[in-house]
Protein backbone atom coordinates (compact mmCIF):
# COMPACT_ATOMS: atom_id res chain seq x y z
CA UNK A 1 0.00 0.00 0.00
CA UNK A 2 1.48 3.33 -1.06
CA UNK A 3 2.31 5.76 1.71
CA UNK A 4 0.20 8.94 1.66
CA UNK A 5 1.29 12.36 2.91
CA UNK A 6 -0.98 14.69 4.85
CA UNK A 7 -0.64 18.17 6.32
CA UNK A 8 -1.08 18.26 10.10
CA UNK A 9 0.37 21.64 11.07
CA UNK A 10 0.68 25.16 9.66
CA UNK A 11 2.79 28.16 10.65
CA UNK A 12 3.20 31.54 8.98
CA UNK A 13 5.00 34.83 9.47
CA UNK A 14 4.47 37.62 6.96
CA UNK A 15 3.83 41.34 6.77
CA UNK A 16 0.10 40.63 6.89
CA UNK A 17 0.20 38.45 10.01
CA UNK A 18 2.65 36.80 12.39
CA UNK A 19 0.64 33.60 12.79
CA UNK A 20 -1.73 31.61 10.60
CA UNK A 21 -5.02 32.95 12.05
CA UNK A 22 -3.88 36.57 11.56
CA UNK A 23 -2.34 35.83 8.16
CA UNK A 24 -5.51 34.09 6.94
CA UNK A 25 -7.83 36.76 8.36
CA UNK A 26 -5.83 39.42 6.50
CA UNK A 27 -5.90 37.34 3.31
CA UNK A 28 -9.63 36.78 3.29
CA UNK A 29 -10.34 40.43 4.07
CA UNK A 30 -7.99 41.64 1.32
CA UNK A 31 -5.62 43.43 3.66
CA UNK A 32 -2.30 44.53 2.20
CA UNK A 33 1.07 44.42 3.95
CA UNK A 34 2.73 46.51 1.23
CA UNK A 35 3.81 50.10 1.67
CA UNK A 36 6.64 52.41 0.76
CA UNK A 37 9.44 52.08 3.29
CA UNK A 38 13.07 53.12 3.68
CA UNK A 39 15.92 50.86 4.70
CA UNK A 40 18.84 52.71 6.22
CA UNK A 41 22.23 51.06 6.47
CA UNK A 42 24.35 54.17 6.99
CA UNK A 43 24.40 57.87 6.26
CA UNK A 44 24.67 57.53 2.49
CA UNK A 45 23.26 54.04 2.34
CA UNK A 46 19.52 54.10 2.14
CA UNK A 47 16.89 52.85 -0.22
CA UNK A 48 13.20 53.68 -0.45
CA UNK A 49 10.88 51.27 -2.21
CA UNK A 50 7.49 49.62 -1.85
CA UNK A 51 7.94 46.50 0.25
CA UNK A 52 6.03 44.11 2.49
CA UNK A 53 8.02 44.36 5.70
CA UNK A 54 7.05 42.63 8.94
CA UNK A 55 6.45 45.23 11.63
CA UNK A 56 6.88 44.43 15.30
CA UNK A 57 8.81 41.22 14.72
CA UNK A 58 11.54 42.13 17.22
CA UNK A 59 9.09 41.74 20.09
CA UNK A 60 8.21 38.24 18.91
CA UNK A 61 11.86 37.35 18.27
CA UNK A 62 12.86 38.47 21.77
CA UNK A 63 11.23 35.35 23.24
CA UNK A 64 13.00 32.82 21.04
CA UNK A 65 15.94 32.15 23.31
CA UNK A 66 19.63 32.80 23.15
CA UNK A 67 20.52 30.43 20.31
CA UNK A 68 18.00 32.03 18.00
CA UNK A 69 18.89 35.56 19.10
CA UNK A 70 22.23 34.93 17.38
CA UNK A 71 20.72 34.11 14.00
CA UNK A 72 19.69 36.06 10.92
CA UNK A 73 16.05 37.09 10.47
CA UNK A 74 15.53 34.37 7.89
CA UNK A 75 16.20 31.79 10.59
CA UNK A 76 14.09 33.66 13.14
CA UNK A 77 11.13 33.76 10.75
CA UNK A 78 11.48 30.01 10.17
CA UNK A 79 11.64 29.36 13.91
CA UNK A 80 8.51 31.39 14.71
CA UNK A 81 6.57 29.73 11.89
CA UNK A 82 7.76 26.23 12.75
CA UNK A 83 7.03 26.67 16.46
CA UNK A 84 3.47 27.50 15.43
CA UNK A 85 3.26 24.60 12.96
CA UNK A 86 4.62 22.04 15.42
CA UNK A 87 2.25 23.22 18.15
CA UNK A 88 -0.63 23.26 15.68
CA UNK A 89 0.20 19.66 14.75
CA UNK A 90 0.12 18.71 18.44
CA UNK A 91 3.51 17.07 18.05
CA UNK A 92 5.44 15.97 21.12
CA UNK A 93 8.60 14.44 19.75
CA UNK A 94 9.74 11.13 21.18
CA UNK A 95 13.34 10.06 20.50
CA UNK A 96 12.08 7.59 17.89
CA UNK A 97 10.02 10.32 16.16
CA UNK A 98 13.00 12.68 16.11
CA UNK A 99 15.06 10.24 14.05
CA UNK A 100 12.14 9.89 11.64
CA UNK A 101 11.54 13.64 11.17
CA UNK A 102 12.95 15.51 8.19
CA UNK A 103 13.76 19.23 8.44
CA UNK A 104 13.87 20.66 4.95
CA UNK A 105 13.65 24.43 4.64
CA UNK A 106 13.88 26.41 1.43
CA UNK A 107 15.39 29.84 1.03
CA UNK A 108 16.36 31.82 -2.02
CA UNK A 109 19.52 33.26 -0.55
CA UNK A 110 19.92 32.76 3.21
CA UNK A 111 21.00 35.33 5.79
CA UNK A 112 21.27 38.62 3.97
CA UNK A 113 21.23 40.94 6.97
CA UNK A 114 24.27 39.17 8.42
CA UNK A 115 26.18 39.40 5.14
CA UNK A 116 25.12 43.00 4.48
CA UNK A 117 26.18 44.08 7.95
CA UNK A 118 29.55 42.40 7.57
CA UNK A 119 30.25 43.86 4.12
CA UNK A 120 29.06 47.36 4.95
CA UNK A 121 31.23 47.37 8.09
CA UNK A 122 34.24 46.06 6.17
CA UNK A 123 33.92 48.33 3.17
CA UNK A 124 32.82 51.58 4.78
CA UNK A 125 34.44 51.44 8.21
CA UNK A 126 37.25 48.93 7.88
CA UNK A 127 35.61 46.75 10.52
CA UNK A 128 36.18 43.03 10.80
CA UNK A 129 33.30 40.66 10.15
CA UNK A 130 31.55 39.24 13.20
CA UNK A 131 32.73 35.64 13.68
CA UNK A 132 29.21 34.27 13.36
CA UNK A 133 28.57 35.95 9.99
CA UNK A 134 28.95 32.71 8.06
CA UNK A 135 26.84 30.66 10.47
CA UNK A 136 24.10 33.28 10.21
CA UNK A 137 24.31 33.50 6.42
CA UNK A 138 24.51 29.91 5.18
CA UNK A 139 21.23 28.92 3.52
CA UNK A 140 20.99 25.80 5.70
CA UNK A 141 21.09 27.89 8.91
CA UNK A 142 17.30 27.72 9.32
CA UNK A 143 17.14 23.94 8.75
CA UNK A 144 20.10 23.42 11.10
CA UNK A 145 18.73 25.64 13.88
CA UNK A 146 15.33 23.95 13.68
CA UNK A 147 16.91 20.51 13.87
CA UNK A 148 18.89 21.65 16.93
CA UNK A 149 15.92 23.40 18.56
CA UNK A 150 13.74 20.28 18.41
CA UNK A 151 16.47 17.61 18.37
CA UNK A 152 15.33 16.44 14.94
CA UNK A 153 17.87 13.99 13.52
CA UNK A 154 16.25 12.80 10.30
CA UNK A 155 17.22 14.11 6.86
CA UNK A 156 17.85 17.86 7.00
CA UNK A 157 19.00 20.34 4.38
CA UNK A 158 18.16 23.57 2.60
CA UNK A 159 16.56 23.77 -0.80
CA UNK A 160 17.40 26.73 -2.98
CA UNK A 161 15.65 27.40 -6.25
CA UNK A 162 14.91 31.14 -6.01
CA UNK A 163 11.15 31.75 -6.00
CA UNK A 164 10.35 28.03 -6.15
CA UNK A 165 12.43 27.09 -3.06
CA UNK A 166 9.42 26.70 -0.76
CA UNK A 167 7.40 24.57 -3.17
CA UNK A 168 10.45 22.45 -3.95
CA UNK A 169 11.17 21.95 -0.23
CA UNK A 170 7.59 20.87 0.48
CA UNK A 171 7.45 18.58 -2.54
CA UNK A 172 10.79 16.96 -1.84
CA UNK A 173 9.82 16.40 1.80
CA UNK A 174 6.60 14.72 0.69
CA UNK A 175 8.59 12.44 -1.61
CA UNK A 176 10.93 11.51 1.26
CA UNK A 177 7.96 10.60 3.43
CA UNK A 178 6.43 8.57 0.60
CA UNK A 179 9.71 6.77 0.07
CA UNK A 180 9.89 5.77 3.73
CA UNK A 181 12.95 7.91 4.54
CA UNK A 182 10.91 9.86 7.11
CA UNK A 183 7.47 9.78 8.78
CA UNK A 184 7.24 13.49 9.58
CA UNK A 185 8.57 16.58 7.81
CA UNK A 186 8.99 20.10 9.11
CA UNK A 187 9.20 21.92 5.82
CA UNK A 188 8.51 25.12 3.95
CA UNK A 189 10.68 28.14 3.45
CA UNK A 190 11.92 31.43 4.82
CA UNK A 191 13.30 34.62 3.32
CA UNK A 192 14.59 37.92 4.69
CA UNK A 193 16.09 40.07 1.95
CA UNK A 194 14.79 43.47 2.98
CA UNK A 195 18.29 44.78 3.46
CA UNK A 196 20.05 47.67 1.79
CA UNK A 197 22.41 45.60 -0.36
CA UNK A 198 19.83 43.05 -1.45
CA UNK A 199 17.26 45.65 -2.40
CA UNK A 200 19.81 47.62 -4.42
CA UNK A 201 20.68 44.40 -6.25
CA UNK A 202 17.01 43.64 -6.92
CA UNK A 203 16.46 47.21 -8.07
CA UNK A 204 19.28 46.82 -10.58
CA UNK A 205 17.34 44.00 -12.23
CA UNK A 206 14.48 46.39 -13.19
CA UNK A 207 11.79 43.97 -12.17
CA UNK A 208 10.48 45.75 -9.05
CA UNK A 209 7.29 47.76 -9.07
CA UNK A 210 7.66 51.46 -8.39
CA UNK A 211 4.50 51.54 -6.31
CA UNK A 212 2.24 48.50 -5.92
CA UNK A 213 1.82 44.81 -6.73
CA UNK A 214 -1.06 44.38 -9.22
CA UNK A 215 -1.05 40.78 -10.45
CA UNK A 216 -3.04 40.10 -13.64
CA UNK A 217 -4.03 43.77 -13.90
CA UNK A 218 -3.13 45.46 -17.19
CA UNK A 219 -1.37 48.31 -15.38
CA UNK A 220 0.92 45.96 -13.39
CA UNK A 221 4.49 47.14 -13.38
CA UNK A 222 6.53 44.67 -11.36
CA UNK A 223 6.88 42.71 -8.18
CA UNK A 224 7.07 43.93 -4.59
CA UNK A 225 9.39 42.06 -2.27
CA UNK A 226 8.08 40.75 1.03
CA UNK A 227 9.63 38.77 3.86
CA UNK A 228 8.62 35.95 6.16
CA UNK A 229 8.23 32.20 6.38
CA UNK A 230 5.64 29.54 5.77
CA UNK A 231 6.11 26.15 7.41
CA UNK A 232 4.07 22.96 7.16
CA UNK A 233 4.18 19.81 9.19
CA UNK A 234 3.79 16.95 6.73
CA UNK A 235 3.16 13.48 8.00
CA UNK A 236 2.62 9.98 6.73
CA UNK A 237 -1.14 9.41 6.88
CA UNK A 238 -1.19 6.31 9.11
CA UNK A 239 1.30 7.97 11.46
CA UNK A 240 -0.97 11.01 11.76
CA UNK A 241 -4.04 8.83 12.24
CA UNK A 242 -2.37 6.66 14.87
CA UNK A 243 -1.74 9.69 17.08
CA UNK A 244 -5.16 11.17 16.41
CA UNK A 245 -3.80 14.27 14.68
CA UNK A 246 -6.01 16.83 13.00
CA UNK A 247 -5.50 16.53 9.24
CA UNK A 248 -5.87 19.61 7.06
CA UNK A 249 -5.40 18.01 3.67
CA UNK A 250 -3.57 15.38 1.70
CA UNK A 251 -0.65 16.46 -0.45
CA UNK A 252 -1.87 14.67 -3.56
CA UNK A 253 0.47 16.01 -6.19
CA UNK A 254 3.90 17.47 -6.77
CA UNK A 255 5.28 18.45 -10.14
CA UNK A 256 8.67 19.93 -10.88
CA UNK A 257 10.66 20.64 -14.00
CA UNK A 258 12.91 23.21 -15.64
CA UNK A 259 12.24 25.46 -18.63
CA UNK A 260 15.78 24.88 -19.83
CA UNK A 261 15.68 28.17 -21.69
CA UNK A 262 16.25 31.49 -20.00
CA UNK A 263 17.26 32.97 -16.65
CA UNK A 264 14.62 35.73 -16.64
CA UNK A 265 11.80 34.99 -19.06
CA UNK A 266 9.39 32.24 -18.06
CA UNK A 267 8.16 29.62 -20.53
CA UNK A 268 4.56 28.47 -20.98
CA UNK A 269 5.62 24.85 -21.59
CA UNK A 270 7.62 24.69 -18.34
CA UNK A 271 4.84 26.11 -16.17
CA UNK A 272 2.20 23.98 -17.87
CA UNK A 273 4.39 20.90 -17.62
CA UNK A 274 4.90 21.35 -13.87
CA UNK A 275 1.14 21.74 -13.30
CA UNK A 276 0.43 18.65 -15.42
CA UNK A 277 2.97 16.64 -13.44
CA UNK A 278 1.36 17.76 -10.18
CA UNK A 279 -2.06 16.67 -11.50
CA UNK A 280 -0.76 13.39 -12.87
CA UNK A 281 -2.66 10.45 -11.38
CA UNK A 282 -5.12 12.63 -9.48
CA UNK A 283 -8.79 11.94 -9.90
CA UNK A 284 -9.60 15.48 -11.00
CA UNK A 285 -12.82 17.12 -9.85
CA UNK A 286 -14.79 19.57 -12.00
CA UNK A 287 -12.73 22.67 -12.78
CA UNK A 288 -15.20 24.76 -10.78
CA UNK A 289 -13.97 22.96 -7.64
CA UNK A 290 -10.31 23.76 -8.28
CA UNK A 291 -8.46 26.78 -6.85
CA UNK A 292 -5.01 27.76 -8.05
CA UNK A 293 -2.91 30.01 -5.87
CA UNK A 294 -1.02 31.46 -8.80
CA UNK A 295 2.60 32.45 -8.87
CA UNK A 296 1.13 35.79 -10.06
CA UNK A 297 4.09 38.05 -9.41
CA UNK A 298 2.66 41.16 -11.04
CA UNK A 299 5.54 41.33 -13.51
CA UNK A 300 4.85 42.00 -17.18
CA UNK A 301 5.99 38.54 -18.25
CA UNK A 302 4.86 36.14 -15.52
CA UNK A 303 1.14 36.78 -15.43
CA UNK A 304 0.26 36.29 -19.13
CA UNK A 305 2.66 33.32 -19.33
CA UNK A 306 1.03 31.71 -16.31
CA UNK A 307 -2.44 32.42 -17.75
CA UNK A 308 -1.50 30.68 -21.01
CA UNK A 309 0.01 27.75 -19.09
CA UNK A 310 -3.17 27.32 -17.01
CA UNK A 311 -5.28 27.44 -20.19
CA UNK A 312 -3.03 24.85 -21.80
CA UNK A 313 -3.43 22.47 -18.86
CA UNK A 314 -7.17 22.90 -18.19
CA UNK A 315 -8.42 23.65 -21.71
CA UNK A 316 -12.04 24.82 -21.82
CA UNK A 317 -12.34 24.15 -18.08
CA UNK A 318 -9.93 27.01 -17.38
CA UNK A 319 -12.81 29.49 -17.35
CA UNK A 320 -14.45 27.61 -14.49
CA UNK A 321 -11.33 27.60 -12.29
CA UNK A 322 -10.88 30.07 -9.49
CA UNK A 323 -7.42 31.61 -9.34
CA UNK A 324 -5.77 34.33 -7.26
CA UNK A 325 -2.41 35.83 -6.50
CA UNK A 326 -2.05 36.55 -2.81
CA UNK A 327 1.30 38.23 -3.55
CA UNK A 328 -0.87 41.30 -4.08
CA UNK A 329 -1.19 41.37 -0.27
CA UNK A 330 1.89 39.76 1.32
CA UNK A 331 4.28 40.64 -1.50
CA UNK A 332 6.69 38.25 -3.16
CA UNK A 333 8.43 36.31 -0.43
CA UNK A 334 10.86 34.94 -3.05
CA UNK A 335 12.17 31.64 -1.68
CA UNK A 336 9.46 31.63 0.98
CA UNK A 337 6.64 32.31 -1.52
CA UNK A 338 5.80 28.62 -1.84
CA UNK A 339 5.81 28.34 1.96
CA UNK A 340 3.13 30.93 2.67
CA UNK A 341 1.21 30.33 -0.56
CA UNK A 342 0.70 26.60 0.04
CA UNK A 343 -0.87 27.68 3.33
CA UNK A 344 -3.30 29.82 1.31
CA UNK A 345 -4.10 26.79 -0.85
CA UNK A 346 -4.63 24.56 2.20
CA UNK A 347 -6.75 27.10 4.10
CA UNK A 348 -8.88 27.76 0.99
CA UNK A 349 -9.54 24.02 0.71
CA UNK A 350 -10.38 23.83 4.42
CA UNK A 351 -12.68 26.85 4.60
CA UNK A 352 -14.13 27.22 1.10
CA UNK A 353 -12.96 30.82 1.00
CA UNK A 354 -10.68 31.96 -1.81
CA UNK A 355 -8.46 34.91 -0.90
CA UNK A 356 -8.53 37.68 -3.52
CA UNK A 357 -6.06 39.26 -5.90
CA UNK A 358 -6.18 42.80 -4.60
CA UNK A 359 -5.12 45.96 -6.49
CA UNK A 360 -6.91 44.65 -9.55
CA UNK A 361 -7.66 47.79 -11.53
CA UNK A 362 -7.70 47.05 -15.23
CA UNK A 363 -8.53 43.82 -17.09
CA UNK A 364 -5.83 42.45 -19.35
CA UNK A 365 -7.03 40.27 -22.25
CA UNK A 366 -3.85 38.26 -21.84
CA UNK A 367 -4.71 37.50 -18.19
CA UNK A 368 -8.34 36.58 -18.63
CA UNK A 369 -8.95 33.96 -15.93
CA UNK A 370 -11.24 34.42 -12.91
CA UNK A 371 -8.55 35.85 -10.69
CA UNK A 372 -10.85 36.68 -7.76
CA UNK A 373 -10.52 40.44 -8.16
CA UNK A 374 -10.28 42.51 -5.00
CA UNK A 375 -12.64 40.52 -2.79
CA UNK A 376 -12.58 37.00 -1.41
CA UNK A 377 -15.05 34.55 -2.89
CA UNK A 378 -16.75 31.54 -1.39
CA UNK A 379 -16.40 28.35 -3.37
CA UNK A 380 -16.78 24.69 -2.56
CA UNK A 381 -13.32 23.31 -3.38
CA UNK A 382 -12.03 19.76 -3.83
CA UNK A 383 -8.54 20.44 -5.12
CA UNK A 384 -6.14 23.36 -4.65
CA UNK A 385 -2.79 24.07 -6.28
CA UNK A 386 0.08 26.35 -5.41
CA UNK A 387 2.23 27.42 -8.36
CA UNK A 388 5.85 28.55 -8.00
CA UNK A 389 7.99 29.50 -11.00
CA UNK A 390 11.51 30.70 -10.29
CA UNK A 391 13.98 32.95 -12.01
CA UNK A 392 16.27 30.56 -13.80
CA UNK A 393 13.27 28.64 -15.16
CA UNK A 394 12.75 26.22 -12.25
CA UNK A 395 9.13 25.26 -11.65
CA UNK A 396 7.39 23.53 -8.75
CA UNK A 397 3.69 22.95 -8.17
CA UNK A 398 2.04 21.27 -5.19
CA UNK A 399 -1.56 20.06 -5.04
CA UNK A 400 -3.81 19.42 -2.04
CA UNK A 401 -7.12 17.60 -1.62
CA UNK A 402 -9.29 16.51 1.26
CA UNK A 403 -8.63 13.03 2.58
Amino acid sequence: MARRVVVTGLGAVASTGMNVPAFWEAATSGKSGIKSDTIVAGEDLKITAPMARIEGFDDVAADLGRDIARTDNFTKFAVVASDEAIEDAGLHFSDEMRTRTATIIGTGIGGQEAMNTAYIGMLTKGKRAHPLTILKTIPNAAASQLSIRHGLTGPAFAVSSACASGAHAIGVTAELIKSGAADIGVTGASEAVLTYGSLEAWKAMHILSSDQCRPFSKNRNGLVIGEGAGILVLEEYDHARARGAKVYAELVGFGMNADGKDMINPAVEGAAGAMSLALNGIDQPAASEIYINAHGTGTLMNDPTETKAIREVFGVGADDLIVSSTKSMHGHLLGAAGGVETIMAIKALETGIVPPTINFEEPDPECDLNITPNEAQERSLSLTLSNSFAFGGLNAVVAFARI
Binding site: D67, R70, R128
Partner: protein, 84 residues
Amino acid sequence: MADLEPTLLDIIKDHAVGLTEAPTRETDINDLGIDSFAVVEIIYEVEEKLGIEVPFNANENPLGDMKTVGDLIDGVKGLVEKGA
Protein backbone atom coordinates in the same frame (compact mmCIF):
# COMPACT_ATOMS: atom_id res chain seq x y z
CA MET B 1 50.45 43.82 28.51
CA ALA B 2 47.93 44.94 31.15
CA ASP B 3 46.35 42.28 33.28
CA LEU B 4 43.67 40.67 31.18
CA GLU B 5 41.86 39.11 34.04
CA PRO B 6 39.22 41.78 34.82
CA THR B 7 38.53 42.32 31.11
CA LEU B 8 38.10 38.60 30.53
CA LEU B 9 35.88 38.17 33.56
CA ASP B 10 33.68 40.98 32.26
CA ILE B 11 33.40 39.43 28.82
CA ILE B 12 32.69 35.98 30.23
CA LYS B 13 30.07 37.47 32.54
CA ASP B 14 28.16 38.86 29.56
CA HIS B 15 27.95 35.40 28.01
CA ALA B 16 27.30 33.43 31.20
CA VAL B 17 23.54 33.06 30.79
CA GLY B 18 23.55 30.15 33.21
CA LEU B 19 24.75 32.28 36.14
CA THR B 20 22.85 34.57 38.47
CA GLU B 21 26.03 35.94 40.09
CA ALA B 22 29.23 37.26 38.59
CA PRO B 23 31.66 34.46 37.73
CA THR B 24 34.94 34.06 39.60
CA ARG B 25 38.04 32.00 38.83
CA GLU B 26 36.50 29.17 40.82
CA THR B 27 33.20 29.05 38.93
CA ASP B 28 32.58 25.71 37.20
CA ILE B 29 32.60 26.12 33.41
CA ASN B 30 29.55 23.89 33.14
CA ASP B 31 27.58 26.41 35.19
CA LEU B 32 28.22 29.24 32.71
CA GLY B 33 25.81 27.93 30.11
CA ILE B 34 28.17 28.83 27.27
CA ASP B 35 28.31 26.91 24.02
CA SER B 36 30.57 26.73 20.98
CA PHE B 37 28.99 29.94 19.61
CA ALA B 38 29.74 31.79 22.85
CA VAL B 39 33.40 30.74 22.89
CA VAL B 40 33.83 32.14 19.38
CA GLU B 41 32.13 35.35 20.49
CA ILE B 42 34.26 35.65 23.63
CA ILE B 43 37.46 35.34 21.59
CA TYR B 44 36.13 37.91 19.10
CA GLU B 45 35.37 40.38 21.87
CA VAL B 46 38.83 39.89 23.35
CA GLU B 47 40.26 40.64 19.91
CA GLU B 48 38.08 43.73 19.48
CA LYS B 49 38.79 45.10 22.95
CA LEU B 50 42.52 44.55 22.82
CA GLY B 51 43.03 45.14 19.09
CA ILE B 52 44.86 41.84 18.71
CA GLU B 53 44.38 38.59 16.86
CA VAL B 54 44.05 35.48 18.94
CA PRO B 55 45.39 32.32 17.25
CA PHE B 56 42.36 30.19 17.90
CA ASN B 57 40.86 27.32 15.96
CA ALA B 58 37.12 26.89 16.50
CA ASN B 59 37.38 23.25 15.51
CA GLU B 60 39.77 22.38 18.33
CA ASN B 61 37.25 21.84 21.13
CA PRO B 62 38.16 25.16 22.75
CA LEU B 63 36.95 24.24 26.22
CA GLY B 64 38.99 21.01 26.10
CA ASP B 65 39.66 19.75 29.61
CA MET B 66 38.91 23.09 31.24
CA LYS B 67 36.96 22.86 34.46
CA THR B 68 36.78 26.37 35.88
CA VAL B 69 36.56 29.94 34.71
CA GLY B 70 40.18 30.27 35.89
CA ASP B 71 41.16 27.58 33.39
CA LEU B 72 39.31 29.48 30.65
CA ILE B 73 40.98 32.78 31.57
CA ASP B 74 44.40 31.11 31.58
CA GLY B 75 43.61 29.44 28.25
CA VAL B 76 42.66 32.74 26.60
CA LYS B 77 45.69 34.44 28.19
CA GLY B 78 47.89 31.70 26.76
CA LEU B 79 46.43 32.26 23.26
CA VAL B 80 46.85 36.01 23.58
CA GLU B 81 50.50 35.61 24.57
CA LYS B 82 51.04 33.15 21.73
CA GLY B 83 49.69 35.73 19.30
CA ALA B 84 51.59 38.67 20.81
